[in-house]
Amino acid sequence: MNLDRRGFLKGAGALIVSFSIPESAFAQAQDPRLQQIDAWLAVGADGEVTVFCGKVELGTGVQTALSQIVAEELDVSFGRIRMLMGDTALCPNQGPTVGSQSIYRAGPQLRTAAAEARQTLVEMAAAALSTEASRLSVADGTVSAPDGKRVSYAELVGGKKISRALSGTAKPKSPDQHAIVGKPIPRVDLPAKVFGTHEYVQNLRMPGMLHGRVVRPPMPEAQLERVDEASVKSLPGNVRVVVKGNFVGVVADREEQAIRAARSLKVQWKQGVELPKMADMPAFTRATPSRERVLASAGSVEPALAAAAKTHKAQYYVPHQMHASIGPSCAIASVTADAATLWSPTQSSFNLRDTVAVVLGLPRDKVRLVWIEGSGCYGHNGADDATADAALMSQAVGKPVRVQWMRHDEHGNEPKGAAMVMEVAGGLDPRGNVAAWDYQVWSPGHAGRPAGDGPGNVLAGAALGLPDRLAPNGADRNARPTYVFPNSRVTLHLLQSTVLRVSSLRGLGSPQNTFANESFIDELAHAAGADPIEFRIRHLKDERAIAVVEGVAKLAQWNPRPAPRGGKNAGAGRGVAFVHYDNYSGYAAIALQVLVDRASGKVSVERVAAAHDCGLIVNPDGLKNQIEGNIVQTLSRALLEDVKFDTVGVTSLDWARYPILRFSDVPDEIAITLIDRPDKPSVGAGEPAASPVMAAVANAIFDATGVRLRSVPFTPERVKAALA
């Protein structure tokens, strides 16, 4: 915990490769790998390689994959790599760990850093061995000459500190030389996770540490009226009440004492703002003041719709959904009069550090954030809020404070995935091809993460009256179709307010937009009397897109025919959907089989097939783990998940009132085809496979029953009502 970068390097004796190219220099650069370079690694005298990584492990296996990339380029065995992640005092700022971008962006940065380090070490070895660098070879950190002389990286850098700036001349290996990248290396974090010894932030304890809990207002924008401190005075544990602005918390010696105090504390709030009725949400969403922007346009949509042989129009709705981490958010803070240290599982080490600095009124260079893994987050859950909570309470009591949210805190207060409405109008020409496509989406921005300029983006900051900011990112994600239509238009209505507090949930607006796009293409295929896969391929030009759609058809043994299936087997159906994630990243196609029980309305997803292309594959097993996780989690969102609220606030405050998919309901099989593209950059796999799932299920329900469901989730009640 007290690792100091300078001390660390002095102790080890190390070669440091550092890059700091000003942002402006990137604008003209040809090679995208040069555009974000800001990474460091160190080769210690003991032969161990320490990687300082600004990205963090969220349970996706990225630590293992990034370590493979470094080991590969440095020519050391995988076991020599150690990775320090997300510590603002030790690691470069590589931006928040979001958007399936760790492999895509941090991967090339680390690959280049490692290649530069290797080149430098080989040059040093050439001098030490009195030969030419071109005659040397490297194996597991030892450089050998043809005459058998050798020297290790450790011997070369032992006791010396050499700093080199990026030369830009080191060339990473070509994929055909890869021996570590592309292998299913077991994850480095898993053994400790199965023996119960993994260091989660929830397990961390400090000497003299106290336990804190927060008491939140019962409804949005409710102002604090009165705190009755006497209501907890007689409780054990040296209970202290922390009140600052609208922030109310309790601190006690022991965890169970803090929990009891938070439950017992009497607080009066003034009336806040009432929420609309849940049932009105689609209409309420469309009526919310918004800013309109045409995202894409080709041909002329209105004349093409007017001239179409057949037209069709449909509206889709996806409600608020939540991250629903299994472990409620947790953090520890130690704040003194002039400095602070935060131990946090955040995705945004640097931005959160800056935010908490504002909340505490400290300069940001006096705040250090040490990242430690937490429960999986799948986007912006309560982790950042809990960190600011701990900081504010530690500042008030002058001791380290640990805050772990209760289940109702997490379900009630985590920022939700935004509710969205999509409407599509389409027209077919006489041959049954899409002649016109008019897409509209109503969504708020999905980016409510804390940043230095939005200190109210953490709840503790908002409670102090600091300004918040919801950035527009994500509303348009995958609003634009990958299909090529002669006349098309995509319009975003960016909502200027939200009903619940929202921020980034896995995929941001992509699963919702893909639900609408991939449902509607299926509806048009039905109108054209075409097989859903044949119809899709007919309108695709991108070869990688076609390859995943054909790949999933093959894996699912798809026999061409139009939907619905009908006949005596009605009740069983199949559906397909596809995404080119964020219109630039990975490709994923899903085909699945469902069984619809007409009596109960229950939808069982029996078998799932997926075809996935994310460029060069770094770790095929880690990749499959991500794809499976995306599919199962999004099946849960498709079938069950809907954040319930009344006029006061969220009522889905536990697992009974926000059910997620259980073992008895996961598919019998998830089969995956990985398409490796060694000639294409590796892009992320943390999100793409989630996006097509909702539409694939809706399309399968249509195939099984002839009934089209356009509102998520497809609960038994809704399916039964639709079938009635």
Binding site: G59, Y200, P328, F663
Partner: protein, 148 residues
Amino acid sequence: MTTITVNGKRHEVTASPDTPLLYVLRNELELNGPKFGCGLAQCGACTVHIDGRPARSCSVAVSAVKGKVTTIEGLGTPEKPHPLQQAFVAEQAAQCGYCINGMIMTASAFLARNPRPSERDIRAALDGNLCRCGTHMRILRAVRRAAA
């Protein structure tokens, strides 16, 4: 003063008698394998064994614990792993891993009683344990592997 036996060792507990076992294990005995998930016995992240049966330690008062408690730290170690722990590593059956304590503790108690379970049995046994990463398929494979 309450006394409990955990992983073969007796401990005197300073927490008040109504404190949930989970907080005693984590905060007093520093056994961090069992996790706080919900405090409502809904998710299974806190599962331990009491006399070999799975129990939700978040919802059992420490003074009510009469039997011998086993946590995942007592189930196996890297040197002497439980077959399920080996199987979870072999199948790479975790992502964030926060639920995995509960999966392994529930499955180990189940397999001890039902060493040759059907697929349906396994799913039913784990149905009260929630995983949010969607690692279910691998967890099922790991339990099948350990049972084989």
